[in-house]
């Protein structure tokens, strides 16, 4: 669910390593999930999505995993690059009109 009042947790990753960002969602009615990337001062940008009839979906350098049993979503970024530094949000769609965002994770890349 929404945790908009919390400071963002930070994940620090060595450049070239894989990053795994986790997210717990709250609503059992959600059947569509989205990952967004937000750079400083900009609006969130779509990365990848997944529907509840799937447990894995791959894009270019990114993979989303969905575990409906424990209401858990993860985003894996392969061979992390400096340009991947950003805040990453998961979002769930409990109804056709409503989209709720998770608390977000700040990804920082060590050279």
């Amino acid at each position: 669910g929404e945790s908009v009042g919390l400071h963002l947790p930070t994940l620090s990753v060595q450049e070239g390593d894989n990053s795994i960002i986790n997210c717990a969602y709250s609503n059992s009615a959600s059947d569509y999930f989205i990952w967004y990337k937000q750079e400083s001062g900009k609006g969130p940008q779509f990365i990848i999505d997944i529907r509840s009839n799937m447990d894995k979906r791959q894009g270019q350098r990114v993979t989303v995993l969905l575990n409906k049993t424990v209401k858990h979503l993860s985003l894996q970024i392969a061979a992390t690059q400096p340009g991947d530094s950003a805040v990453y949000f998961c979002a769930e769609n409990p109804s056709a009109s409503k989209i709720i965002f998770g608390s977000g994770t700040r990804l920082s890349i060590r050279p």
């Binding site: 929404e2 945790s3 908009v4 009042g5 919390l6 400071h7 963002l8 059947d31 569509y32 989205i34 001062g41 900009k42 609006g43 969130p44 940008q45 779509f46 999505d49 529907r51 949000f89 979002a91 769609n93 056709a96 009109s97 409503k98 989209i99 709720i100 965002f101 998770g102 608390s103 977000g104």
Partner: protein, 112 residues
């Protein structure tokens, strides 16, 4: 293709002054429209959403209001701003299906 416009990009307003932020979408009809607010270093808080002209759903009771006078226009307003209204305001749209949101570039509001 669809585009979303949001303005202004930055705004500095005194406490107690009114607010009007505007968002328009091009290239689509009957979009669902959304206003989110983001405090510095925080997550995205859904403020209002609209599934049609004149239809507004409020998620967080506060001194803000939203209106949708036209199909592709969404306005966020306040009669008297509070210090706590400072933040990054994002407009977004999507279809009426379970699909992804598309965000505008945001308005950084500072209430002093």
């Amino acid at each position: 293709s669809q585009t979303i416009h949001q303005w202004p990009a930055t705004l500095v307003q005194p406490v107690g002054s009114p607010l009007s932020l505007e968002c328009t979408v091009e290239g689509t009809s009957n979009p669902n429209l959304y206003w989110y607010r983001q405090a510095a270093g925080r997550g995205l808080q859904l403020l209002f959403y609209s599934v049609g002209i004149g239809q507004i759903s409020s998620e967080v009771p506060q001194n803000l209001s939203a209106s949708r006078p036209q199909d592709r226009q969404f306005i966020l307003s306040s009669k008297k701003l509070l210090l706590s209204d400072s933040g990054f305001y994002l407009c977004a749209w999507k279809t009426d299906r379970r699909e992804k949101l598309f965000f505008g570039s945001g308005t950084q509001l500072s209430v002093l």
